[in-house]
Amino acid sequence: MNSTKRLQVFLLITALLVSPNICRADITVALSKGFVNKVKDKATITTKFNIDKHHNSPNPIGGGSDDGDIHIAGRDNVVKLPMVAEIINGAKETSAMQFLLDSTAGDEVPLVGVWRLWFEHPGSEDQVQGGKVGVPKNTNPDHIFEFHPVVRFGDFDVLNSFGPIENEEAEFRGYSAEKAFGTYEKRPGTITKSKTAIMITSNKAGFNYAEFQMRLAGKPKDVGDGYMVFANVYNADAKKNDDPVVEEARRMVFVKGSKPADAVKDLKKGDKLHVLGIPRVNLNMVFAIADGLKADEEYSESLPYEMIIVAILKD
């Protein structure tokens, strides 16, 4: 081995050993089958939430992670996984914010929130539903499951937070449809099952918010706590004859009582909306895939997802 080759090998070994810091490791979340079946076609979950750590003021509004959210880290008695609840447009929800500031660590409050399973902050350890959930050490601990957006916090209805994220100085905009959906479509996903559980494996995801135009592929379906509808995804400024950015229609989730839900409920096939949305794993598809697997089989392709619509935007 000459000295150049030796150096190359040495550098490769070094790269391999420091790679945990630069590679995205896969993380598995295990959920009970009954739980998946129960929430797969629901927009929200109603639970009791233990407040452990919270922001004292909402995130600023601007670009990137300056999304105006209030983060509350805690534990809940339904999902039983490391958990964060996020109220969007935090600055507008002054009563809920004051209630949060008056709370003390360990307080348990009733909470309704859109469930969101997404590998945005997966950390480095597998997460098992019903396993031990430690007290979070900060407002954004490693978590795969979250309530985002929150719909009701304590006695406070925060449905008005479902709107453009803006203040007098700035407006938060999501990533373009092309950029965001390009990555959502390619998210790796592995699904396995046992007799009573479904295991989903993926790695850290980015591009949290997407701004896009959705054109309905059918009529919205009332699912009790919301509406769900399949829609084709276009860039926000797409013209009539432009191609969609995703080949197939994707499921869109609306929370009943929110402005986006009011806007969509009476629409019909072909109608369009300019929206801001965040992705979550489509547990309906996960459940169907797991149901079709034989024991010890594994599905390994892209991670099925759907979009939670948090705001209707002006054209």
């Binding site: 348990e108 098992v128 594994e298």
Partner: protein, 319 residues
């Protein structure tokens, strides 16, 4: 010929494959040691002792009277089989047992006043002070008192989880070191063998290819009731097993020579250290890495090789 699709890439595949197999062995050894030392149960016992010891109860002045009464209570004793400490205790069971011991002979429906009376009647001790502090914050509400006691237990269990995690991490490093030394798994020596022996390298790459087709070493979970996600039983899947063929290939890369001086050099300790570091990263990491490196190799195949491969693979459903 570029870096990718070269000897170097195959050496890297071989190294990653070796690290993966050693990590799987280390995980298995760690689980074996954990079962042997009853690590989980013992850590919980330590946590409970820290929480409840130093407290006498009425009619029993010994400092360990409360914890003895706790273990003698039917709700807890029913969980102890063959003197093995339970590995899990729910906050609800903890709070029910403790309040039952404190309220003693109290008949009928339990009220906040009964609990307060029971705690006040306890001889002086750390637990009494803690419980009184919790009860003062409960607005004379039994449910709030129960939740406060459960919260106190949960906080203690968070510490227990921290101990358990740290002990597991320490054991991982110890076992990685033992495995590395016993097997003489010297990264530098392995690299040298892979580099200089094309037949061996080719055999290792073939095995690595087969390994990449196996399921990722990961957890499988079962619940007693699929509608109730509590008390999960976590097991490891077949991706966590090393086959005989893999062991055979591994045997050609690691191990002690009858004349150990033949393989020893001043770089050997560094080679061991690199292996220990690699093993401690865990099997899932090296499995993902193996797939990534295999994909790089696949992307760099010669046109002849590529022609043999279907252009688009169907969704991968692996048995």
């Amino acid at each position: 010929m570029g870096l990718f699709n070269s000897t170097i890439l195959e050496v890297v595949i071989g190294l990653v494959f070796v690290y993966l197999l050693l990590s799987i062995m280390c995980t298995a050894a760690n689980e074996w040691v954990a079962a042997l030392t009853r690590r989980r149960g013992e850590t919980l016992r330590r946590g409970l002792a820290q929480l409840l010891s130093g407290q006498p109860i009425q009619g029993a002045e010994a400092p360990d009277a409360l914890i003895r009464a706790f273990y003698d209570h039917p709700l807890i004793s029913s969980m102890i089989h063959d003197k093995n400490h339970p590995t899990y205790l729910s906050p609800r069971n903890f709070s029910a047992t403790l309040t039952d011991i404190i309220t003693g002979e109290q008949q009928g429906r339990m009220a906040f006043a009964h609990v307060l009376e029971g705690v006040n009647a306890l001889p002086e001790g750390e637990v009494k002070r803690s419980l009184l502090a919790l009860l003062r914050r409960s607005d004379e509400d039994l449910d709030k008192a129960r939740l406060a006691i459960e919260g106190w237990f949960n906080d203690a269990m968070d510490r227990v989880s921290g101990w358990y995690k740290r002990r597991t991490q320490v054991w991982t490093i110890v076992l990685a070191a033992v495995l590395t030394l016993v097997a003489n798994a010297d990264t530098i020596q392995i690299t040298r063998k892979l580099w200089t022996d094309p037949v061996l390298r080719s055999a290792v790459v073939e095995e690595a290819k087969a390994r990449a087709q196996k399921p990722r070493p990961t957890v499988s979970v079962e619940y007693e009731n699929e509608d109730d996600p509590t008390n999960p039983t976590v097991t490891r899947n077949e991706g966590n097993q090393v086959s005989d063929k893999e062991r055979q290939v591994l045997g050609q890369l690691i191990g002690w020579h009858s004349d150990w001086r033949q393989t020893w050099s001043w770089l050997t300790p560094l080679g061991w250290l690199l292996t220990i570091l690699a093993i401690s990263m865990g099997a899932p990491f090296w499995f993902d890495m193996l797939n990534k490196v295999m994909n790089v190799r696949f992307a760099g195949k010669s046109p002849d090789e590529r022609a043999k491969t279907p252009e688009k693979t169907e969704s991968t459903v692996r048995a």
